[in-house]
């Protein structure tokens, strides 16, 4: 992202999603899983915001809330400045059309009983985006965009490889001409050799269609390839958000530092210090008080385990939630 004026496409404010994992006889929750706990961030038009974190940290839950598959427990999602929970039915339809999702598992995300052509064409038909006789041409165009041949359109998903299926999933997301695509670990189910292809494809499509991405992944290396900015999540909290270069060159949060040190280096001359974290990720049902990371943090100081650090701008748009940078 250059320094030009950035337009906010979507903003998330104090978003929370709690799941009741246990209820007593009267239906009152006795144990609550805090999947996403007070997360705020902005997505600018035309950028790719990467969201990384370990499994179970709530990144997919955020993605699902954005596409309206989950209802937030609290907080707001502002799209074009409007709270999506307060949209009229008509505006809501438009919102749902503008935000699409690419799924993690290409084997589960395609209906096995529909041909690929039908899968891609369906969103156009049900949203009545164009007359029926033009849908076929549009499907052809989309299939070509994602690198599938038109003659394959009457095949069923099971006749395709994982990479090809993910391309179908991408074409389906593109079919409604969305503005923002939430990519929920779109390559983690794929072979490493295919991952790069799909990532390049996503990159190309972003340019071609003027898309904005929220790119969810569990490794910083995948996100590095495609994102402009990166957010790091841990146990339902956003720990750090910054421009890609900032995050990779100058990680502030100890958790980010530990994550980065875990990326294997191909440069043998560069000696990297590996930060080994001890202990396991605490359960999100009963997270540590104070900073979520305090139980494993190697820079823990007094107060870390009592006061929750807020996500604050540490200059240059580098947001970090850590008491080390309290001024």
């Amino acid at each position: 992202m250059s320094e030009e004026k950035k337009e906010v496409l979507l903003e998330v404010k104090h978003l929370k999603k709690y799941f009741d994992v246990e209820t007593n006889f009267f239906g009152k929750p006795t144990a609550v899983l805090k999947a996403v706990d007070d997360v705020s961030f902005k997505i600018y038009k035309g950028e790719a915001l990467g969201l990384v974190g370990e499994s179970g940290c709530g990144k997919s839950t955020i993605g699902k809330m954005l596409v309206d598959l989950y209802k937030p427990t609290a907080g707001e999602i502002l799209y074009d400045g409007k709270d999506i929970s307060k949209l009229s039915t008509k505006e809501r339809r438009k919102y749902c059309k503008d935000i699409q999702l690419i799924f993690q598992d290409p084997y589960a995300s395609l209906n096995p009983r529909m041909t690929v052509g039908d899968i891609i064409g369906e969103p156009i038909r049900i949203n009545k985006l164009m007359p029926d006789d033009q849908v076929e041409d549009r499907v052809t165009y989309l299939m070509n965009c994602v690198g599938l041949a038109n003659h394959q359109r009457n095949r069923y998903p099971h006749e395709f490889s994982g990479g090809q299926r993910q391309r179908v999933g991408i074409a389906r997301a593109l079919a409604v001409q969305p503005k923002l695509i939430v990519c929920d670990e779109p390559v983690s189910a794929l072979d490493v050799s295919i991952q790069a292809q799909v990532l390049n494809l996503l990159d190309d499509l972003k340019e071609e269609f003027g898309l904005t991405y929220l790119f969810i992944a569990h490794g910083l290396n995948v996100v590095k390839h495609i994102s402009d900015r990166v957010g790091v999540m841990y146990l339902g909290k956003l720990m750090e958000v910054a421009d890609k270069r900032e995050i990779y060159d100058n990680p502030l949060n100890p958790y980010t530092q530990a994550l980065l040190s875990a990326i294997p280096s191909t440069d043998i001359t560069k000696k990297k210090e590996r930060i080994i974290l001890t202990g396991d990720v605490p359960t999100p049902i009963n997270p540590p008080a104070g900073c979520r990371f305090c139980s494993r943090c190697f820079k823990k100081t007094e107060g870390c385990d009592t006061v929750i650090p807020e996500l604050k701008d540490n200059g240059n748009g580098h947001m970090v939630a850590c008491h080390l940078y309290d001024k």
Binding site: A108, L110, T115, G147, H151, N154, H158
Partner: protein, 296 residues
């Protein structure tokens, strides 16, 4: 890869859409047992249509001078206690048995599928309410429930269909619900939601086609159960009314003569067994043929 690919307008021709029915038939053909089942079903269907025309005697005509005639050239399957030709009665019964079986299953399948889909898809209170009602129905012995319904509705073939159909609604509702519960967790259902499908469209276009196989198998088995239930009702003096010929009813009435004139039971019994077996074999083959993942 990085450059946009040329739009392919020429070159490879568009593959012909695989016709669903064609592919299904191809798969089914490979299953010998299913084909045998289908042949028998078609044979019974043929008898159902042509039965009255093929029958050498009036199936309801009682010739008291010729009771308990063992199978011979004049009476292929013998005659019963009232001197009626069993061969003609079996032929004529085909139509009733098949019709009641299919109609009862269609009726309970329709209602069961709708109830099960709604319960499974929406969950929560709706689910609890529907399924508790189904549980109550299941807690009453099915034949007892059918008799009660018959008592309330009155005699007759159409009432029998409703009674037998209603009794098996909970089974279909349960099967559909549990299949839907597992299918709706799939990402493609979430995907359908994200691109803007309505709930109804998701149920009918994305979920139900994926649970069809288990329903179809259950339904084909259900036809045989329905045939047997009809027989039980007939035996109890409800449902099909004498002198109309119906396999189960014939079986029930000939029960007393099992030792003295076994042929009065053997032939209608054989007909039931054969029909039930045919539906089961065919249903099994159909399940494989309906699953695109099984296709090679």
């Amino acid at each position: 890869m990085r450059k946009k690919q040329q739009v392919q307008t020429t070159g490879e021709a568009l593959e012909k859409p695989e016709s669903q029915i064609r592919v299904m038939w191809d798969t089914l053909k490979k299953n010998k047992a299913a084909v045998a089942g289908l042949v028998v079903i078609l044979f019974f269907l043929f008898l159902a249509v042509m039965g009255d025309w093929l029958a050498p005697y009036d199936p309801e005509y009682s010739d008291m001078g010729h009771t308990f005639v063992a199978p011979c050239r004049d009476y292929y399957f013998g005659t019963d206690q009232l001197g009626r030709d069993i061969f003609s009665r079996v032929l004529s019964g085909t139509k009733i048995s098949l019709f009641v079986g299919v109609a009862a299953v269609a009726y309970s399948l329709l209602i069961g599928t709708v109830l099960g889909s709604v319960a499974g898809y929406f969950g929560g209170k709706v689910d609890s309410f529907i399924m508790r009602c189904m549980d109550i129905m299941l807690s009453i012995p099915s034949i007892l429930l059918a008799i009660t319904l018959m008592a309330a509705l009155g005699k007759g073939l159409d009432k029998a269909i409703i009674a037998i159909g209603t009794v098996s609604i909970p089974e279909y509702a349960r099967i559909v619900r549990s299949s839907i519960l597992s299918v709706k967790e799939n990402d493609y259902v979430a995907a359908a939601k994200v691109v803007g499908n309505s709930d109804r469209r998701i149920i009918f276009h994305h979920i139900l086609p994926n649970v069809v196989s288990s329903i179809v198998v259950r339904a084909t088995l259900g036809i045989s159960t329905a045939i047997l239930d009809t027989a039980a009702l007939g035996f109890l003096g409800m449902g099909v009314q004498p002198p109309m010929a119906e396999w189960g009813d014939m079986l029930g009435r000939a029960r007393t003569y099992i030792f003295s004139a076994p042929y009065t039971l053997i032939f209608p019994g054989l007909a039931i067994t054969l029909a039930v077996l045919a539906f089961n074999l065919f249903g099994d083959g159909l399940r494989d043929a309906l699953d695109p993942k099984e296709r090679v």
